[in-house]
Symmetry: D2
Subunit: 114 residues, 4 copies
Amino acid sequence: MATDAQQACFEAGIKFGSLYHQFAGTPLSPDSAASLETAMVEAIENQPFCTSVTVDIDEAALAEAADDHGYVELTGRFMEVRMRVEYEGVVVHTEMVMEDGYPLMRIVDLNDSA
Amino acid sequence: MATDAQQACFEAGIKFGSLYHQFAGTPLSPDSAASLETAMVEAIENQPFCTSVTVDIDEAALAEAADDHGYVELTGRFMEVRMRVEYEGVVVHTEMVMEDGYPLMRIVDLNDSA
Amino acid sequence: MATDAQQACFEAGIKFGSLYHQFAGTPLSPDSAASLETAMVEAIENQPFCTSVTVDIDEAALAEAADDHGYVELTGRFMEVRMRVEYEGVVVHTEMVMEDGYPLMRIVDLNDSA
Amino acid sequence: MATDAQQACFEAGIKFGSLYHQFAGTPLSPDSAASLETAMVEAIENQPFCTSVTVDIDEAALAEAADDHGYVELTGRFMEVRMRVEYEGVVVHTEMVMEDGYPLMRIVDLNDSA
């Protein structure tokens, strides 16, 4: 059987995959960045065990990329994401940041107080 | 060659397909409905020729469906959408409403003042 | 009221928006390109009035882009799409090709035999 | 620091969230089920540490649901998914099945030979 800490990590992974693949491709401009950040946070916080999400869209990168057509499609290069998942007393903090042009999702901290 | 009115209708269709298939599946609860409405509106208004979008999530239907698990996945049964597209002076109004359990997208009005 | 030709163009637009925003973001490699092409074609051909779809993934562009991590996420730069929509005797041919780094969707031919 | 087993579970979760939210909403009929199964498998197997995916679309449930309009939109009720993820010698088997009308993702087996 999986431990509570392993289950917590599994749940944390589900939230990242969900957030990324639900919203990748969304038309995005500097004017619409704030509303998309809020919607992503509130959508994923609906999922079980997900106690907190933050999404930061990089407005400088976005403004430059949107210069040609007024908007872009959302990909990992335009955002950083942090989440807190809690499962049976185990708290996992995770983040998604760009590394070498690839949106890397990773466990930052795991606190097994159980 | 397509006429401006035909082009306007083509553009209007693109926006509906985009909105529906970008956001279908999003985790949705009564608490997150307002932020998702706003994000959908602002995302699609980024697209060319799309001058106005309204999205109304049916909070009664949503509250009932979300009763079991606290949230649902967005599908057409939970929302109505209206759009105004303008292309070279032609204005098209479209809407998406449920009909017989199917999200029907249709042209409501076309005003070719050109 | 919209004409049959205008309705046909509206339907054609819906299919393009659907295809693009359903599948944008899909993990894609040279080895998986063929199965994704087939699935996109068959999925969109389910939609009303859509009689034919072709999707061509640019395997050279894909191979180069996938060189770093083994795969990419699908965006418009990796594919060309053609569709045939028929509505009440009106046949519309449309295509999506890249132009200036932007996936341009357009009406190629409209044959109103009605 | 997270253990290899916890990392393996995190990676397994990412794949499930990705698969579900990338493909939910896809137009689906009995005729297109096989090609969508194959595309989902090959797309997710592109992701790191994902050594095997199986997707089984429930053709009986699909045929009944598609009776009205000829097709449906993919949701969890139409499919079962199994995956094998391997991370630094730890092998995790996971599955997604319907339980009480909700697509439940869970760890079935974890084999830490490291």
